[in-house]
């Protein structure tokens, strides 16, 4: 111990110490001098990283992680007789559609058909009410208790009455009905199979799931389910609106940005490719390499892009991947479900929608049935829930994906830039450089002036800044309760502009605040406010990034630059103009009528956080940045 101490003593000689301290000071000083450069560099790196995500250099091939799945390793028995049965059901369904049959009639038809097959059926009535619209309907479902299975686990096969393409999902329903007759012939199912033919689009399935899991909400009346089964592990939703299909598209995004385990998608892709012979797409996005020489029909790039650029293979690949990723961000950032399957994720059910991309051919019920049968056999192999593969990923193409480590740093870098900015402003608020009055007269040389400057510490009174922050968020909450109220939604056209005007005029009240005192003793309010806003937005982005990357990326884009650039000006006109710009950024979304109605409906019925987040977090932050510009420096 003594020798150790001796060694340490010699290592920390007193001569070294002062050098060390000097070095440390120089480092801090250079960091401080280059803070703005560093911030810009971090911001730019973050944004460039985001732009680089579609690059074919990033990303890796998908693979099956769970050994139990064994996709595509079984013989399928789905035959043309089953296709014929599906055709028969389709005829009945077309009749029902043509005579505009009511929900009850349709559900009764489904229940009778299930009963004819010997599968216990039931129906469920529901009524949903929200400030935007009310809907009601009747779901039909049947629970096939698999032979020898204890009924503790279940899988779901579902189809909704409406397709996500504004049409009817008749062929999807016919597929499920025919599948139920087919699957009942086999005894190798290890889990109960629940067939759900839900009414409407999202509403029917939401009502069914709520009743199944015993969650209730005040704006929904649902009948309790007469039949139940065990814990649902996986689910397939079938959306087949067209006459035939060329590809099967996978829709995966769930409510609030949840994703299913990637193994499900990968197994389905392998099975569809090898067993069904159907190529798989992400959404309905065709791969440009399938259309050599005719890529322009995919409209990946806007028409004005020069042909020389778009013909480049790498550019085309980048465009294709960017289209896939942007579509994903569009669903995930807004917390929207990209299909009926998206409602199931919140109950820890891994689910995807198989979308039969409408086309003139060559595939139909036969290929779809075989694919679903084999996928079910794969799901049937599971002894545990899907847990091995990824839950956080971005799919760039059906066969490649980005791991969380590849995409997460982009948003986090932006958040770090904002945090550096916020801390920098905090230091700025605490210190001010003043002329040293003792140094002498004012007409000294400039070199002397520099020496005469001196940093003095000033008090940072955070109460007014925090007061503004809190009151903007409270105003945001009030704004949200206004726009989600039924009277606003009923007269949206009339009320939109008054509400925008009122919301943007309210922050002008801060002009009435008494100007902060002597800047040498008291930190100016705008600097403190900006510091708070920057730190808040940084925290928001980094916390969101692990929950919902797309939302974090959207916030990083929407908040990053505007909040960083907010700065007060001397002329009142400039201040007002800047404030108006921020107010427009913060409140402009109110003018997107249809989008807003959708967001409010999703919040009220499905509990999607996007609408309240925008109102209570994003808009107030923009207004805070606007107030920073508005206040006198």
């Amino acid at each position: 111990m003594a020798t150790l101490r001796e060694k340490l003593k010699s290592a920390l000689g007193s001569g070294d110490n002062s050098a060390k301290i000097r070095r440390r000071r120089a480092m801090t000083a250079s960091l401080w001098r280059n803070l703005s450069v560093l911030r810009v560099a971090l911001l730019v790196t973050g944004y460039v990283w985001m732009l680089a995500l579609p690059s074919s250099q990033l990303g890796q091939g998908t693979y099956i992680d769970e050994n139990a799945l064994q996709p595509g390793q079984v013989n399928t028995y789905w035959s043309w007789a089953d296709v014929r049965r599906a055709d028969d059901y389709l005829k009945d369904l077309e009749l029902l559609r043509d005579r505009n049959a009511s929900s009850e009639e349709r559900a009764a038809y489904f229940a009778t058909e299930f009963a004819k097959l010997g599968i216990p059926p039931s129906t469920q009535k529901y009524a949903l009410r929200s400030s935007t619209l009310a809907s009601e309907g009747t779901n039909a479902y049947a629970v096939f208790s698999s032979p020898r299975a204890s009924g503790a686990e279940a899988v779901v096969i579902s189809a909704s009455w409406l397709s996500h393409t504004d049409g009817f999902n008749l062929r999807g329903l016919a597929t499920v009905l025919s599948l139920s007759a087919f699957l009942k012939q086999y005894s190798h199912w290890s889990k109960d199979i629940i067939f759900i033919l839900s009414d409407g689009y999202l509403d029917g399935m939401h009502a069914w799931l709520s009743a199944y899991h015993g969650s209730s909400q005040s704006n929904m009346q649902v009948e309790p389910l007469e039949l139940t089964s065990g814990v649902i592990w996986t689910a397939l939703n079938i959306d087949y609106p067209g006459h035939s299909f060329s590809h099967l598209g996978v829709f995966r995004e769930g409510l609030n940005g949840r994703l299913p385990n990637q193994d499900l998608i990968n197994s389905f892709r392998l099975i569809s490719h090898h067993t069904g012979g159907v190529p798989v797409l992400l959404y309905d996005h065709h791969d440009p390499s399938d259309f050599p020489g005719r890529q322009d029909i995919l409209k990946i790039f806007p028409a004005w892009t020069p042909k020389r650029v778009t013909d480049n293979k790498d550019v085309m690949e980048y465009g294709y991947r960017a289209k896939n990723i942007l579509r994903h961000v569009g669903y995930q950032a807004r917390g929207r479900a990209s299909g009926v399957h998206g409602l199931l994720h919140q109950f820890r059910i891994d689910a995807i929608t198989l979308f039969a991309v409408p086309s003139n051919g060559p595939h139909g019920f036969h290929a779809l049935g075989r694919t679903v049968e084999s996928t079910l056999r794969t799901m049937n192999n599971l002894l545990e829930r899907l847990h091995a593969s990824f839950f956080f990923y971005i799919m760039a193409t059906p066969g490649t994906f980005l791991k969380i480590g590849t995409y997460l740093p982009s948003a986090v870098l932006v958040a770090v830039a904002l945090m550096f900015g916020g801390l920098g402003e905090w230091v700025n608020a605490g210190w001010v450089e003043v002329l040293d009055q003792d140094a002498g007269a004012t007409d000294k040389q400039s070199a002397a002036l520099i020496h005469a400057k001196r940093w003095v510490q000033r008090s940072r009174d955070v109460i007014p800044a925090l007061g503004i922050v809190i009151s903007t968020h409270v105003a945001g909450a009030a704004l949200f309760s206004v726009v989600s109220s039924s009277w606003f939604m009923a007269n949206q056209q009339t009320y939109t502009f008054p509400v925008i005007l009122l919301a943007s005029l309210l922050p002008l009240l801060t002009l009435l605040l008494p100007s902060s005192g002597d800047p040498t003793s008291q930190a100016p309010l705008p600097i403190l406010l900006k510091s708070a806003t920057l730190c808040l937005s940084s925290t928001l982005i980094s916390v969101t990034s692990v929950l919902n990357f797309s939302l974090a990326a959207l916030l990083a884009v929407a908040l990053g630059v505007p909040v960083s650039l907010a700065a007060p000006a001397h002329s009142m006109i400039t201040r007002l103009l800047r404030y108006l710009l921020y107010a427009a950024l913060g409140l402009g979304w109110l003018a997107l009528g249809q989008e807003m109605r959708q967001a409010v409906w999703h919040w009220e019925v499905l509990g999607v956080w996007f609408a309240p987040l925008v109102c209570v977090v994003y808009t107030p932050m923009m207004l805070q940045a606007g107030i920073v510009c508005l206040l006198s420096p």
Partner: protein, 536 residues
């Protein structure tokens, strides 16, 4: 050779008369066509050890008399004597018994998975629980089932729901008989259980009714179960009933989707010859009600009445293949009103609602299908992983009104975390043709990481609840099992211990490093460029 046979016969006769007054073997098969086209079959192989009485637990210290049996399986006999078991019931089932569509089973023990319960007298040198553990292990070895995992966390003593089916011999005071009961809902039943089971029969697989038990057909049935039941009947002796129950689906098995069945189509076997040691060997076929189409039964039964046709397998019988055909049906039409005409007195639906990992709600919907008031005993055994909040117990009627008064005579054993399950027994009165909803909030426990099973992401299988009908007229009470449940408890990501190790090591290194730095650092005043001295 003839002489040898003669001598051995005499020897057998002698040993029989020496040990017991005799043994009897009866075999019986009951077939019941069901309204939904299925066929319920129940095999019962009964061996009666005449005049035997269960070993007294106090005699466990002294050497037992020698065991000699001709028909009674020696392995079972030795187990019963070794642990002084008075009554024992073991069932191994796969599937979910649908009481509404299939009615009540012949053998009441139809809960999914394995169920073992015994009545034993105390007063032995080893405790009841030690003997109970030994019984599990012995039967686990005998039937190739993982019964050994029925530890104290799964063992209860629900005496009201599982009274002895036979008689209990009088024990010297203060000793009494005790019940031990445990279930393993996730136990799978397979050929490896049936093979040792058949080995215990006097005529396994080649003669008599047991010849029908072809594993590949029995285990393809929609529902199947094996049962071993030992009881003592005062004045008669120790009775061992080994049962196989199965619900076959002839419609699924036939290409034309017909419900016609024969031994050959259902079991892939026929009865080639009779079992020579069987005292009686009977096959009962329950006949469908008159309105259910015209059918033919081949060959002609030995005796028949309105409801049941009986075939008696005699020694001179040629190969027997009973066939039932509905000649007029081209394909079976499923009844469309199956859910409105349930065969059971009451229907139960039991679910664990709620998707969170911390809280849930047990929900039981129970419907009385009869126009008379029913009174049932409700038994809930729950591992400590799911703890009930008894004060949240609510019973709501069809109009949403509270009717907690329908719940009476409640006994409750609270759970002991990491040790012992909870048990709730209560009487429930069901008003005629009414649906009641019973809810109870539950807390899902947070387990120690070593307590998770190897397949942690599957969740925990919870045992079924049991309802026992209490008939006022004194008829036999029926036991009704609900399906088993699966519960998701908070599960760590077991694929990531490596990350956890890295993370914790980094943290420890950081904390240690900075602490060590501060402890070994010498604080001195250093002058830097003539500025204000600064403390390092």
């Amino acid at each position: 050779m003839r002489w040898f046979a003669f001598f051995s016969l005499i020897l057998v006769q002698c040993s029989l008369s020496a040990a017991h007054s005799g043994e009897e073997y009866h075999e019986e098969l009951k077939l019941r066509p069901l309204p939904d086209g299925k066929l319920a079959a129940r095999f019962a192989f009964t061996t009666l050890l005449k005049g035997a009485i269960p070993r007294a637990p106090t005699n466990l210290t002294v050497n037992d008399e020698s065991q000699h049996y001709t028909l009674f399986p020696l392995a079972m006999g030795q187990l019963l004597r070794e642990y002084a078991i008075t009554e024992l019931h073991l069932t191994l089932n796969a599937g979910k018994w649908d009481y509404d569509r299939w009615g009540y089973p012949e053998e009441p023990g139809v809960g999914s998975g394995a169920e073992l319960w015994t009545w034993m007298g105390d007063g032995a040198p080893t405790s009841i629980d030690e003997r109970w553990k030994a019984i599990q292990n012995a039967h686990a070895g005998l039937f190739c089932a993982s019964l050994g995992s029925m530890d104290t966390q799964r063992t209860t003593s629900p005496t009201r729901a599982f009274p002895p089916t036979g008689d209990l011999p009088r024990l010297p005071a203060p000793h009494v008989h005790r019940l031990r009961h445990a279930t393993l809902p996730a136990e799978h039943v397979c050929t490896e259980n049936l093979t040792p089971f058949l080995k215990l029969l006097p005529c396994p697989a080649h003669a008599g009714i047991a010849a029908l038990l072809a594993p590949h057909k029995v285990f393809d049935a929609d529902w199947h179960g094996l049962g071993v039941h030992v009881r003592w009947r005062a004045g008669k002796g120790v009775e061992l009933v080994m049962t196989v129950q199965a619900v076959f689906d002839p419609v699924r098995m036939s290409a034309e989707r017909k419900r016609d069945w024969s031994f050959h189509s259902v079991f892939d076997r026929t009865i080639p010859r009779s079992c020579p040691v069987a005292t009686t060997s009977l096959i009962h076929v329950e006949l469908p009600p008159p309105g259910d189409g015209s059918y033919t039964l081949n060959p002609a039964p030995s005796t028949a009445n309105q409801a049941v046709a009986t075939f008696s397998i005699s020694k001179d019988l040629p190969e027997l293949d009973v066939t039932m055909k509905w000649g007029e049906e081209s394909r079976f039409a499923y009844p469309l009103d199956a859910s409105s005409t349930p065969l059971s007195d009451f229907s139960v639906q039991r679910t664990l609602k709620g998707s969170s990992q911390t809280h849930g709600q047990l929900s039981i919907v129970i419907r009385n299908n009869r126009p008379t008031e029913l009174s049932v005993l409700y038994l809930e055994t729950m591992p400590w992983h799911v703890e009930f909040y008894l004060h949240t117990l609510r019973i709501t009627g069809p109009d949403g009104q509270q009717c907690n008064d329908l719940f009476s005579n409640m006994t409750y054993t609270p759970p002991v975390p990491h040790a012992q399950p909870a048990m709730l027994q209560a009487m429930l009165t069901l008003p005629p043709l009414t649906t009641l909803r019973l809810t109870m909030d539950a807390r899902k426990s947070f387990l120690r990481y070593t307590e998770h099973p190897p397949d942690a992401q599957r969740g925990w299988d919870l045992p079924p609840a049991v309802f026992v009908t209490q008939s006022a007229s004194g008829g036999a009470s029926k036991r009704v099992y609900t399906p088993a449940l699966l519960v998701d408890l908070a599960t760590p990501d077991f694929s990531m211990p490596y990350n956890v190790i890295i993370m914790s090591c980094t943290l420890i290194a950081l904390i240690f490093g900075s602490l060590f730095n501060i402890l070994t650092r010498r604080f001195v005043v250093v002058k830097v460029d003539g500025n204000v001295p600064k403390v390092q």
